[in-house]
C-alpha cells in the first residue's frame, strides 16, 4: 500500500514537472521570439509569401492583358466584317461596271459600223456625182 501511494505521488509529481517544463519552454521560446522576431523559418515563409504575392500580381497583369487582347480581337472582328462587306460591295460594283462597259462597247461597235456604212454610202454618192 505504501509503495502504491509513492507511485501515485511520483506520477502526480511527474505531471507537475511536465507542466512546469512546458510552461518554461513556452516562455523561453517567447523570449527568443522577442529577441529574434524573424528567424530563418519565418524569413523563408515570408519569402514564399512574397513569391506568392508576386505571382498574384503577375496573374492580375495577365488577366488585364487577356481582357485587352479580347477587346482588340472583338474590334478586329468588327473591322474584318466591315472589310468583307466593303469587298462584296466593291465586287458587285465591279461586275456592274464590267457589264456596262460591255454594253457600251457593243453600242460603240454598232455606231462605228453604222458610221462606216454611212461613210461608204456618202463616198459612193460623191463618186457618182464626179463621174
Amino acid at each position: 500500500m505504501n509503495e502504491v501511494i509513492i507511485s501515485l505521488i511520483s506520477m502526480v509529481s511527474a505531471l507537475g514537472v511536465a507542466y512546469i517544463v512546458n510552461v518554461a519552454s513556452k516562455r523561453v521560446q517567447a523570449k527568443k521570439a522577442e529577441k529574434q522576431p524573424k528567424d530563418r523559418m519565418e524569413q523563408m515563409f515570408d519569402g514564399y509569401e512574397r513569391l506568392i504575392k508576386q505571382k498574384d500580381v503577375e496573374d492580375d497583369r495577365k488577366q488585364r492583358y487577356i481582357k485587352t487582347i479580347e477587346e482588340e480581337l472583338r474590334l478586329t472582328k468588327e473591322h474584318v466584317g466591315h472589310l468583307e462587306r466593303a469587298l462584296e460591295a466593291t465586287k458587285d460594283e465591279l461586275n456592274e461596271s464590267r457589264i456596262e462597259n460591255a454594253e457600251l462597247r457593243d453600242k460603240l461597235d454598232e455606231m462605228r459600223k453604222e458610221y462606216q456604212k454611212v461613210k461608204s454610202e456618202n463616198q459612193d454618192t460623191v463618186d457618182a456625182l464626179t463621174k
Binding site: 507511485s7 511520483s10 509529481s13 511527474a14 518554461a24 521570439a33 523559418m41 519565418e42 515563409f45
Partner: protein, 155 residues
Amino acid sequence: MSKETLRHQLDKARPKLKVVSPLAYWDILVMGWFNIVLGLTFILGIDSARFTASLLIVNDLFTFDFWGVVFIIIGLLKLYSLRINNWKLARSTLFIGVSVKAAWMIALTIRTFISPGTLFLNILWVTIALLQIGAYIWFMPPSTEAYGQRRKDRD
C-alpha cells in the same frame, strides 16, 4: 504549381534539426538510443525474480516489461522524428520522455530516502532527466505550428 507539390517542397525546404539546433539533435539522438537500450534491458536483461523489493517503485503499478516497451517506443519515435526531420514529433517525444523520466526521477528520489542503495542510480537518472529537460526548454526549436500561431498573432 499544385498545392501538393508546394507542400512537398515546403517540407523539403525545412532545415535539418542538426543544423538549427545541434545540441537538441544530439540530445534526441543519444536519448533515443538510450531509451531503446534501456527498454531492451528491461525486457531481456532484468530477472524480476532477483528483486525482493522493486528497484523502482513505479514498477509496483507497471511491470519492467511494460516500461521496457514504453522506452523502446519512445526511443524509436525519437529516431524516426530525426529521420523524417519532423520537429513537432521530436518535440512531442522529448516532452513524453521528460514526463516519464520525471516520474522515475521522483520515484527514485523518494526511494533513496526511504531505503538506501539507490543514491548513485538516482544521481545518474536525475542528470539524464535534467539534460532532457534542459534540451526541451532551451535548445529545442518550436514546431511549425508555433510559427504559424506567432504569424497569426503578428498579423
